[in-house]
Symmetry: C2
Subunit: 322 residues, 2 copies
Amino acid sequence: MRIAQRALVTGAAGFIGSTLVDRLLADGHEVVGYDNFSTGQRRFLKGASADPRFTLVEADLLDTAQLADVMEDADIVFHLAANADVRFGTEHPFRDLEQNTIVTYNVLEAMRAKGVRRIAFSSTGSVYGEAKVFPTPEDAPFPIQTSLYGASKVAGESLISAYCEGFGFQGFIFRFVSILGERYTHGHVFDFYKKLLADPTRLPVLGDGRQRKSYLYVQDCIDAIFTAVENAPDRVNVFNLGQDHYCEVNDSIGWISAKLGVSPELDYSGGNRGWIGDSPFIFLDCTRMRGLGWTPKLSIKDGIERTLAYLIDNKWVLEARA
Amino acid sequence: MRIAQRALVTGAAGFIGSTLVDRLLADGHEVVGYDNFSTGQRRFLKGASADPRFTLVEADLLDTAQLADVMEDADIVFHLAANADVRFGTEHPFRDLEQNTIVTYNVLEAMRAKGVRRIAFSSTGSVYGEAKVFPTPEDAPFPIQTSLYGASKVAGESLISAYCEGFGFQGFIFRFVSILGERYTHGHVFDFYKKLLADPTRLPVLGDGRQRKSYLYVQDCIDAIFTAVENAPDRVNVFNLGQDHYCEVNDSIGWISAKLGVSPELDYSGGNRGWIGDSPFIFLDCTRMRGLGWTPKLSIKDGIERTLAYLIDNKWVLEARA
């Protein structure tokens, strides 16, 4: 971003959060990073912590007093903290409500109390549930939620929009496909690599491997966020962030296997979904974001390969998120 | 409904809730009514309380232990309890989050704990925000929320849908226009009548009076709910409930004034919205609901006049909700 600002980043020690922190610092901004380290990694903030313009606050977003304190003098909030685990929502339904919906409310209330009026929010393509239009545009038909994660992100988006309308905030809502790249700590490349390390001859695959997904490289994701925050003019700005192409899970397995030099037997769990609430096809129409001049630099295949290279060089990540 | 059931009704002492309780009892069902009487009226349950098949539980939906207790042996939940005040959301933002979103989660969790799997939910046409398509169908473009009330109802809908998908529930989600009729305790007829009683010569009107709204009579609303719960086959069933016509606020003022025999000078606050987040035009496409054989019996004008007649005969309501 061009204009120097003081930014608060929630989830600052996460995959996307820490990458955003580094980019903000590189662009000359002051950054306050907020993380409870429930899933964040201290190593991701090693570079940032050496920068005098970076302040780390180790706290939970349920701690509203602490949150109000750090909100002081912020110009913009990048609210990335979340339970990002779409798959196991039914095992602990309160987690999505608390960590995604209630926490977003807490962030908005702290902003209101301190007069901070700009918020960027990491939502998800999962909010489209099982979309009927592909590629799916931002104004797709009113969706039915199929996961607790998606439900909690819709709730977060809706709260932000209502605060924009009711309190004069400006909101930037990003509906991501899955993001890949350095510091990636969960998802299918992570799972497959970990399994293939343990047994390169056999790979269990959820579903039938035909699920079609789109993946975006994390630096492309952050390029988009900065482009939108600098240029999007509306009170509520909603952007899909993804690729103009997709792959099958089987394609990804092929690329990963080739890079690792393995030929595992594929053991499919069957069905066209990886898990209950999994969407067998995620492919977002990103025309709106591209209209602001943004283009992703890496293809899905490049992103997956770069992610794999990162994991190979940083095996500690596999254990840190065991 | 034809099949005798044991129904739990939350918000049982409210306008719509108490009317639903009476209808369920009249149809032969057992009913447990749950209300914290924050806005509910004991007088509305006078008839029900004389029926041995009715049990009243005075408790808050934040009391999850009590909620789990009453869920025992229920066949279906009609979750009507809510903060229904769309207008003053910005004065107390936590109220919509707690009373609409979190409480809906509590109801769903109690259902899950006790194996209850059918839920009917009172949502709102406000979830469409400022719709761009009229009449607005259920699959209108993904809306942007303009009120905290709408945001909280979207969150409630989304939670219910995710529970249907994740836990095999069946959901019936009703997006109401404003409901009118006997036991009506807030809204424009209430406000106008109260003001005209105090001063029949002058009526303050929010906005320019040109806001176009649709209103449905409460017994027609309950006919629709019963029709849907009996006949809708899907896991998640979403229905608009409204009229195939609309009126302007000025029309309503004319009908009310004529019935009261007054000719007030109209004092408009100006602008095309009654308040921040007010939608200047609400008109829902109810083709889906009509497809199940439902037709409203009363027009908007009939509904408004019947509501006014009720308020004239029950002036205590004006004071009870002062």
